[in-house]
Each structure stands twice: as structure tokens, then as C-alpha cells.
Point group: D2
């Protein structure tokens, strides 16, 4: 940490900062400039936070210079992690493979879910996605089938052999979701719902943590830290677009987030091109970009009958687009040094 | 709703859209242009949503032309509402008054809370704020005193006669918070935590709903609609800054949100200048701006000893700033046609 | 400046940084932490920039700790400045007064401009605004009357006694605009057009510098520095809204920019509520907020016949709104310790 | 265009809108809903703009439903264009090829430029980039060598056989830049400098138009329309990152812009991974993403000695990164159906 004193700071104010830092066992290095004095702090950062340095007289600014997350950082865990998803069939998500996850945005019926799962599997997907609890902006929109949706997912998972990832939106539902699903998704609107993060951290299943649509990468990694701190390091991050001024896409896919995260965290990271763009015609090019940039996987909406979908029909891929997508996730990963996760599944 | 067909849309595709609209009891008015055809829909909007019009062949775009919220809209409730907060002492928040809410960001001890409450009351505040459950970006930061904090707040409320507003961050805590507080705050990170919104909608106490730091005004009003839909129309909105690229302030106070909300919703709206700016020196000018723009109140952080605050010390006002604030909230409201809420308190 | 070394930086890399800093006459203070080393630099910042410190091996980050602007900073010029606009009639814009500038968005005809000027003057305005060169997003939109517009403005200025501010969009036009107008406006789209900034810096007339709609406050002050560096310190800043995700207003008025700028720069700052909101119904509340927050003035669109305006008709005030505005700029400034500029005009 | 009337609009107000539309030769289709009336307009959009419909009494909103650009649109020009850059050696930028452009951010000396050009050519680049006029945020930063820089570029172009693209920042410099360079770049800060756009539109050389860092895609295409309208359709668009709240990268590369632009405009589009990320370690992954998403090329900063670069040293690639980049732009384009532009050069 670096404390920047204001140009008018007195010697007594500088000494006061030094004294406070030393009172919690830290060291303070003072550099007096012509205009300003800066003080470098060495020691335990958490104890410095308690000092409220920014409130001390004469202090102009405080710069943090190290990352605030620990368990999810690569600093003490330089090798990137692989998270295994599933029960009898285990699918890897990690640095050597490329994992294709697909399924309907929302579970609407047993038949629709099974058809979507078969479309997904035929296209090369190894993990099934599908929403039973849907967080919707409008209280008048379809909110998901709830428990019934979980049962459908579990049954389709059983019959197709695909592990299932599904969203949990309320801490009170974590147990029941964990009983039916192989991986719990925390959605973009709940990324900073800390009670929910702690609950999924305690339930013993891998977590897919979507980025808040307006969260910085650092805030996102801090959300992962909440889960990790409860003993669960099986967290996969998912970049799904951030909110910007651009209106031609629903969100702006922050493709740079993939290498940025990989440089600082050991957790796997995948991309959701469907929710990022909100447009069917962007799913294939954005999926290709995800493979090429080095993502560990993609998660894509498919639907057997988008015209009658109850949720996000306009972005579900099918037909030629699905064939192009299937081809891309087969051809591109080897060019960037990865194998399809399908080849590494453990049964 | 208006459906815009793509320039290549065929007559059959246009007819298909019309047919779907009519199948749910709507009317479709077709305007054929030289390049494009547009179709105006008349009827029940919710039923149109189920049609997934954007997925139909030949459809280029769908424009919604009416507001998606109903209960919180001024359309059928043209008079702006007043929400009364408190038990024996009732304080109004509404169009005729200006309500000054103040207190510490976090409840740290009985003494600190009482001192802050007395500072607040001396400066003219009629409602006490204070956090017992704190949503923090870092799992290593102070998370609040929890139940003990609620008890302190209830006790200080009793001794000062000031109703209390405090944040609830988890649907599982709603009941206990409602037992101790007069108004429940839903914070910026939880604005789209729909389970929490529904829970506070059912507990029978007024709600202070902060704007999500990256929520549009429409999304914010939809969050209020979630609460209203559970039978609770005693919702006060709070503008607290949005996330932008500007870095000199913690967030950017969207002062325009006040008249924009007042034009479309009957709910009261107040401003939080402390969290918007994140800087003590901005609290007074932003509070003045809030009064002048027509806000129904402000909510401000005060702390008897900011240097030792466990949370957000740098933005808590005291000394000269607090005196300037007290003066502003006394002098400015009458200039814009309001009285201080203190003069309308019911005991 | 503070250089943060990466955790893996070697002693040789640290020594190399120190050596480079000393090679340009600076001093380097090294603080070795448990994980990282930080190096505080003392000396001439401009010479440090040439070192490209961020490119040196072992360097993780470089934090600048002082403001990059000099001539426009309050550091060596603590008193806030007043800029006088006009020829025979001189109007102040500065810390003691509140200046009301009004006129049509675009000059369309002599009659429309004269009528708008008289509306403005009747409402209390002392400076006339009006655009002869209009920067338009579409090449097919009305681009302004050009030289003819300047002549109309000069003539209306003559007959009404109001000094004129008008926009210049091209460095090649600076001389002719300066011959006809009392103050040159640099618009939001040209805030980073450095050739234009230098040209207006050399022509000897006051400049109204609008904030780039996506410029940080620091970038904006650097743009003012470009003008100041050419010898012109008569610069008035104008906050006119920034681009954010919120769609209910054309831009988001960053009201906090007023006190933030006043804390670091001595230049006057005014607010443009018309272009910030893009809505007629917001002009009065945002103007009130501008007075209350401490702005040195406002600049407002008025038009005698908005329905037939060639530019931005929807935001031009008239009728009751103009009366409410006139009242606000008369009543509110004294409450916040200012007099109307009209009372300090020098003739 | 669709005009949405407010719920309170009277029949007379609706009739007035219809009458105005018909007065300029348009047709108006009225759809009366239960709550609101909407009016669909058919006819010449430019004539509708002059009506100022948003200002008419009773009008709540006006939705534009067609694209505002014409010459750059794919609507009447469905095949995507190829732009040829160079004199004796002509390099294509278009839908069948992938063009690698590289060189130093700024021209600093003849030797540095030649070395950078040879690095670039060795890595597979066919066009040389380099800045002689540099738009810098600070007036105290290196502003480029100007004319001398242009002469160096022309000489290096002659000796290497690589066509040159360089930035022009002022309309007064367009002629001299066009005399020395094969392609004129309009930078991000000047995207809305309409005088400059018109000047480069008239000079008869291809233009590289960077996206404004805060411009929507539509505004960017309108800027291209300004150039096209002056008779120059040889415009290549360059996505270079937009301004968002994320701070770990200098800007956020909007990778989706590539397929979005290609869906609506026939102009070629390339990506600048260097300025988007501002970090050397991101150049290779973002370049790979650019190829995979379907971009027509990339433009990359290289420097023989980044430690001593006068501009943007931290993002210039060299060594292993340059080798990885060279490999990617050779291996990936064929996988997505393109050939390297080097194979299609015309001499």
C-alpha cells in the first residue's frame, strides 16, 4: 500500500500516519518529494484496512498495490486448475481441454429439455445447461418450473449421461438444487449476493460463477474468493458480457477478460456467447473468438423450437448455426493447443 | 408494441406475425413502407411477450412502446405518494416535505451509534440510518454486527425517538430485521435479488430500495414492482450513483434520475450523496443539488469518529461540513416549495 | 510517482529502475515488502515519463500521484478565476456570480435569432448562445448557416447588447469566428481535437470548453491545459453530460463534476442542462441543481418556435418552463451566496 | 419511423401529426390502442427529420426503424468490399484475406522505423503503420516528428516495399499526409471531427477509420458515411476498444463489433489489439480472437526497443510474443476460410 499525502500535509500528520501503521505491526517508508510526501507500507494488508488511512488528516489518497484476493490467485497456486463436473460421468473444465456446454435457457417441459439435450450432445456438448429457477427483470415474466424443472434436468441427465449445470437464485434453494444438479450456477444478477455465494461454497458441488454485468474483473474474483473461503475451490468463471453504452448487442462481450483472468487466477474461465450478444447470428463468431482467445469452454443456448421458447428464444442456435458451431468447437481447439473435453471424459 | 420486419420479409412472414398476434386476442395494424413493413400491435402486452415475436421469420426488431411496470406507475396513480416511516413517531417521505435521514454507515457499538444518532438529530435528521448486515466486496472486510447491531439500533431508536432504517441482505433475515427496524433497506448489490425483493414485499414494513449501481431507471422501477406485487406499495426509491468511466468519484450521482422517476412513478425518491461521491467534500454540494432538483429527501453518513470507523470513514461528514449540511436542509427546501419533514412528524 | 515491482522482480531489476530514475536527476526511495518492492520517485515528473518505466523488466505497475495539469491547476493558483466575456458590455463568469447564458441551439434566421435572444434576455440571460457551425452525427442533417450565421449573431449581439458565444468546429474557422463572436465554444465532440484547442488558445478570446461526452475530468482539464499553454487562461469549462448505460436521458449530467473541478482547478465551470438531459422537462430541475451544487452558470437552449427548430427542438424551453427557469436563476443564487451576473455587468 | 403518442394525446394532436407527415409527401398509418396510439410513417426519412416530430404536442416518443447510413450500408451493396492499399505494391483488405499491419506507434527516427518495419515484415506484415502526427492527451507529451516523420515513412516504404498507413489529426495536414502515405488513418479522438472526415474523403486515398472510444457502432458508420459522401468509398473500419468501467485493460475490445458491422455494412473491418488492451501480454490472444471472429485484419504495435519507445512502449510486441503472433496470423486464417493477404499482393 502507498499513502499519498496532500501537498499541505504537516510533519505531524506524516508522523501520525507512520505511527498508526507501526501500531498494527507494519513498516512505513517515507519518501519526501518536492511537492508531496508518499509513504510505502509493508506488512499485513488486512490490518492496514482497519486503519482507515484515507480518513487521517493530511492524507490525499491511498493506493492499493497488491491483489485483494488470495485463495483464487495464481500467486501461491501458479498452475491453472481443472474442475471436474459430474457424478459417474466426469467432464473436465481446465487448461488442456475445451468444454462445450449447451442446453435450453429455461427448462419448459421434459420433452423440450430432452430434445435440446440431444441436439446439444449431437453437436458435441458434454455438459447440459438448463434453467429451473429464472431470475427475470419483470415479475410478470416466466419464472421457471422450480423443483419440477430440477427433476426434469436430473432425469434428462440420467438418460443422456450428460452432467447438468443449473442456476440457483436464492440461498434457501441451494440444498435442493445441489441434490439434483452436478454444478450450481450463480447468475450475473447474483454475483454480489454474498449470502448466496457463501451458501454455494458450503454445499460441496462445483460452481459456475457468472460475471456481474457491471462487475470489474477484480470484483468478480472477490466473489469467487467468497466461495473459496467456504472451502470450495471448484469454481469456474464465466464471462457473459458487460454493460456498456453500445446498443447493437445486449451486452458487450469482454473477450479480454479471458487472458486477464488467466494471468491472475488459477480458476478455469469459459465464455457465454449467447447472453453476451443476445443475437443468434453472433453465437458462432463469438464462440470461435472464445476458443481462439484461450477460453476453457463455452456455454450456449440451444432450443428445439426457439419460436415457442419461454425465455430468450432469439439467441438460441439451431440448424445451420448449430452445425457451424459444432464444427468450430471440433476444429479450432487443436489449433490453439487443446483437445475437446469429450476426449477426456472419465466414466 | 411495434414489430419491424426486415426488408426481405415475405408477405407470408408478415401474415404469420399478424396471425400469431390475433391468436392471443390482439390486433395488428400493418404499415407497408417502400423498404420495410411495420406492424403495430394493440392489446394485452403480457400476452404478446409469450409470442416470442423476435424469433419469428422475417422479424428484424420489436420495439416496446409502453412502460413494463404497472403498480408503481403514475399512469393509473397520478398523485405522488407519501410513505410514512416509524411506529409511535411517524415521519413522512413524499412530495410536500424534505426528509433528512442520517446515521453511521455501520453500527459498530452502542455508544458510537448513539453518538452518531445524536449528531444526526442535532443536525435536523428525523430518521436514523445504520447498517447491521453489511454487504462487502471482500470476504475479509467487516461484515457488520448482525443481530447485535439490530438490537443496538432498536435501543437507540427508542431513546432518541428516531425511526430506524437498516439494510437486509438475505431473504432469511427479513423477519428478524423487520422486528427491529421501521424501514428495510435493499442495497444496490441486491436490487436484482428477486427473492429478497419478494420477501421484503411480504413483511409489512416500508422499504428503501436503492438503485443498482448499474441498473437503468426502468430496471429499478421493475424491482420496485416486484415489491409492490407482493402487496407493499410503501416503497421509497434511493438514487445512490451509477457506475461510469469517471474515476474521481466512487460512482456518478445521476441527479436527473429524480425528475425522470417523478415523471413516471408515484413513489417517493431520495438521494444518497455519501455513497454516490464516496468523498466527504462532496456531501454538502450534492445534498444541496438533491434538494434543488426536487428530491424528497437525502440519506447521509455521519460518524462521531470517522478516523476509527469500520466502514466508509472517508465519506462520513462531521464538524463544519455537518453544520453546512444542517443549514442547507433547513434553508433550501422552502425555496423549492417544501417543508422539512421534521415539521410534519406525527407522534 | 510510485513504481510497483512484480513479486518476481530481481534485485538487479530493482537497481535498474533506480539507475534510470537517477539518470534523469530524480531520486528513488526503495521500500522492500514481504511480497513486493515499491519505489517512490521524487523529481521532475515530465522527465520520468520519458523513461517508459512501465516497459522495464520487473515492473508491474506505475502509479502517478500528482495531477498532470499545471496552468489550470489550483495548486499554484489557489483563488478561483473570473472570466469576462464581451466587448463594450462585459459579463463575468466566476466564483461570486451566477451567469445565465441562453439562445437557440442553431442560428436559423435573423428573426428567429433575435426572437430567441429577446426571450433569453427577458428571462434574465446576459450572454447569448447560438450555433452557426453545427457538428452533426449525420452528414444529411442541417449543418448550420456558417458565415451567414456568424453575421446574424454579431448583428443580434449589437442590437441586444448581449455578448455572444458560438461554437467553432474546425481550426481553419477560428479566425473568422473570433472576428464575430465574444467567446468561442469548443464542443463535446472536439474536446480532444488538439489542433483546434491550440488554435483557440492563440486567438485571444475567451473559450467555453465543453466536456467530451466520454472524457474523464482529468482528460478535460488536460484539454484546457492545451488552450492555456498557448497563452489563453480565459477558459470556462462546461459540464454537459457524459455517456452512460442509462437511456431515459440523452446523457447523464455529472453534477459532481462541478465541485470536483472546483477543488482542483481555478477555472470557472458552468452546466448545460439542455444537452445533458435532451428533454425539455428536465431543464428547470437540472438548472436548479446546477445553481445549488455551486456552478458558476448555466447555458440553456431557448427557441421561439421549437416545433419548427432545425436542431434539438425537443429540449428548447419556452412558456411556463422558461418562466420557472427565470425565477430559479433569480431566487436560488443568493441562497448559495452568489449574485446574478446581470448585477455585475460592466459597460 | 414510428411516432408513439402519449396516453393523453387528443384526436386533434394525432391529426396534426398525420397532417405534418403528409405535408412532406409521407404516409401515416394510425393504430389506436387501448392506452396509446402509434403512427407508422412511410416515405423519405430525411424529410421526416425536418418535421421535428418529437416536439409536436401529444408526441411521447419517436422510434427510428431503419439505418441512418446509406452509402456504407449493405442494403444496396450486399457484397462486402475489398479496399486495396498501396502504389506499386497493392495489398487487399477484404472478405477473402487476412491482412497483417504492423509498425511502431510513433516514428522516432529513420533507424527505429526501418528496424520496426523489418521486424514487421519478417513476422508476415504486408502494410506498415507508424505515427508522424500523434494526438496526445497531454500537451507535454511527445507530439510526433510531423513532416520529418512522414518523410521517414515514405523512405522506409520505398526500401521495404510495404505500403504505409499513418494518422492525420488536422484537416490542414491532409494534403501533405496524402502525398507521403498510402492510407490515411483517422484516430479514435477524431472520429467525430467532421471537417477532418470530409477532408480525407476528398483526397483520393484509402482511409482507416478508427472507432471513437465512446462511439456506438451506428455513430461510427455515420462517420464513415461522411467520408463516403465526399466520394471516397475506400474506407476500412478499425475496432480499437471502447471505454467501459473495467480497469484492467486500457479499453475494452468490443470483439462483437466485427460481426455486427459485417452484418450491416459492406466496408472491411480490422482490429487493433494493441491499443484495445494497452498490454503486451494481450496482443497475441486478442489477435487470435480477431482472426477467429472473422476480422479482415489486425494492426499491431511493434518496436525494436520498447524500453526506449517515446510512445506506448508497454504494448509493443517483440521476441517470443512476435513469433507467436506471426504463427497465429499464418495458421488461423485458413481455418476460418481466409488466405493471408501476403499471398494476394499485386505488384
Amino acid at each position: 500500500m502507498v499513502v499519498v499525502m496532500s501537498p499541505e500535509a504537516t510533519d505531524a500528520e506524516i508522523a501520525h500516519v507512520v505511527e498508526r501503521v507501526e501500531s498494527v505491526g507494519g513498516e512505513a517508508f517515507v519518501s519526501k518529494g518536492v511537492v508531496r510526501t508518499i509513504i510505502g507500507l509493508v506488512g499485513d494488508i488486512d490490518s492496514f484496512h482497519g486503519l482507515n488511512l484515507r480518513s487521517l488528516p493530511g492524507v490525499a489518497d491511498v493506493h492499493r498495490i497488491s491483489d485483494p484476493y488470495k485463495l483464487v490467485s495464481r500467486q501461491h497456486h501458479p498452475d491453472r486448475s481443472t474442475v471436474w463436473v459430474g457424478g459417474r460421468t466426469k467432464v473436465p473444465i481446465g487448461p488442456d481441454t475445451f468444454t462445450f456446454i449447451a442446453g435450453p435457457c429455461a427448462v419448459e417441459s421434459a420433452q423440450q429439455t430432452l430434445e435440446a439435450a440431444e441436439m446439444a450432445r449431437a453437436a458435441g456438448a458434454t455438459v447440459l445447461r438448463g434453467g429451473a429457477f429464472k431470475p427475470r427483470t419483470s415479475p410478470y415474466a416466466f419464472q421457471g418450473l422450480g423443483l419440477k424443472g430440477l427433476e426434469i434436468l436430473a432425469s434428462v441427465s440420467e438418460s443422456t449421461g450428460m452432467p447438468v449445470v443449473t442456476e440457483v437464485v436464492d440461498a434457501r434453494d441451494v440444498t435442493v438444487v445441489a441434490e439434483h444438479a452436478d454444478m450450481l450456477q450463480v447468475g450475473t444478477r447474483n454475483m454480489a449476493n454474498f449470502g448466496l455465494l457463501q451458501a454455494v461454497g458450503e454445499v460441496g458441488k462445483p460452481v459456475l460463477l457468472k460475471r456481474g454485468m457491471t462487475a470489474t474483473i477484480e470484483e468478480w474474483l472477490m466473489a469467487a474468493e467468497y466461495i473459496a473461503q467456504r472451502g470450495n475451490l471448484d469454481v469456474v468463471l464465466c464471462e457473459r458480457g458487460i454493460r456498456t453504452f453500445e446498443e447493437s448487442t445486449r451486452n458487450t462481450l469482454d473477450i479480454s477478460a479471458v487472458p486477464v483472468v488467466q494471468a491472475t487466477s488459477h480458476l478455469p474461465i469459459i465464455v457465454d456467447p449467447s447472453h453476451a450478444g443476445g443475437r443468434r447470428d453472433l453465437v458462432v463468431p463469438l464462440s470461435r473468438a472464445a476458443v481462439a482467445v484461450g477460453a476453457d469452454g463455452v456455454i450456449v443456448d440451444v432450443h428445439p423450437d426457439p419460436e415457442n421458447a419461454l425465455c430468450d428464444g432469439p439467441q438460441a442456435v439451431l440448424g445451420n448455426d448449430l452445425r457451424a458451431l459444432a464444427q468450430s468447437v471440433r476444429q479450432l481447439p487443436p489449433v490453439v493447443g487443446r483437445v475437446a473435453a469429450a476426449e477426456r471424459v472419465r466414466r
